[in-house]
């Protein structure tokens, strides 16, 4: 009997960012985002959760090497030790944890096996976690 499991892989990147809505004047952004408006950075963790049926022979539900390579190529290479506002994948994104999770979902979802992506979690600090599970959550 094939049973579906979900596999979560944890990745790490360090990046700089500053929260600002480009439609607002600087004083409004400073008031809205406070300390987060100043350029600063985090040691981020990115958790990518995908679903699959363990192969009856190999016991593997996910090709981890392929997943790692895809996340590295399409996301980590752009954000690790970069300023998030300058990453092509994040053009126009306000780089809150929620904004990052939704944007990362948008990058990964079409690049992984159809329908396999279940959850993208951005851990900004040990106190802040942000999850995105797609539009139908």
């Amino acid at each position: 009997m094939a049973r579906e499991v979900t596999l979560t892989r944890v990745y790490h990147f360090s990046a700089a960012h500053e929260l600002a809505n480009p439609a607002l004047p600087p004083e409004a952004n400073a008031a809205l985002y406070g300390a987060c408006h100043r350029p600063h950075g985090h040691n981020y963790y990115l958790e990518v959760t995908v679903a699959g049926m363990p192969d009856p022979v190999t016991g593997m539900a996910v090709d981890l090497g392929a997943l790692d390579a895809q996340v590295e190529r399409s996301l980590l290479a752009q954000v690790d030790h970069h300023k998030l506002e300058e990453a092509p994948a994040l053009a126009g994104v306000i780089t809150t944890g929620e904004g990052l999770a939704r944007a990362f979902w948008g990058v990964l979802e079409p690049r992984l096996a159809r329908g396999s992506l279940r959850r993208v979690t951005v851990v900004e600090t040990a106190k802040n976690r942000f999850e995105y599970r797609g539009q139908n959550d």
């Binding site: 499991v5 596999l7 944890v10």
Partner: protein
Amino acid sequence: MARARSTRRFSFAAGHHYRVAAWSPEENERFFGRLTVPHGHNYTLDVTVRGDIDERTGMVIDLGELKRVVAETVVDRFDHADLNADPLFRDRVPTTENIALVVWDLLAPKLGVDRLASVRVWEDATLSVEYDGT
């Protein structure tokens, strides 16, 4: 009656290697690479149970009971053990995926599928697999 979920974390250190018996050593090496070499992990297991909050005790489950069941059924069996030598892995590779399914199959009859909500097995801090019985 309010329902809730409780999760308790366990750990066991176990050895394993990846090998499909029907394949030649070369095929195994080509597919699994270094995973064919016996090695081990400090596994972490999160067991989540769900149920009504008992109005008398304020609990979904006595965590002491959960601890005893999981220790007797899973931890005592796999801690400091060679997973490949366990009959449960005779015909399946002890991947994190299969360990999660095996742990579910061991716990479900003891806790009941209505109470057991999910099991999550962490091979290390970067990789976990969850199964919820579906």
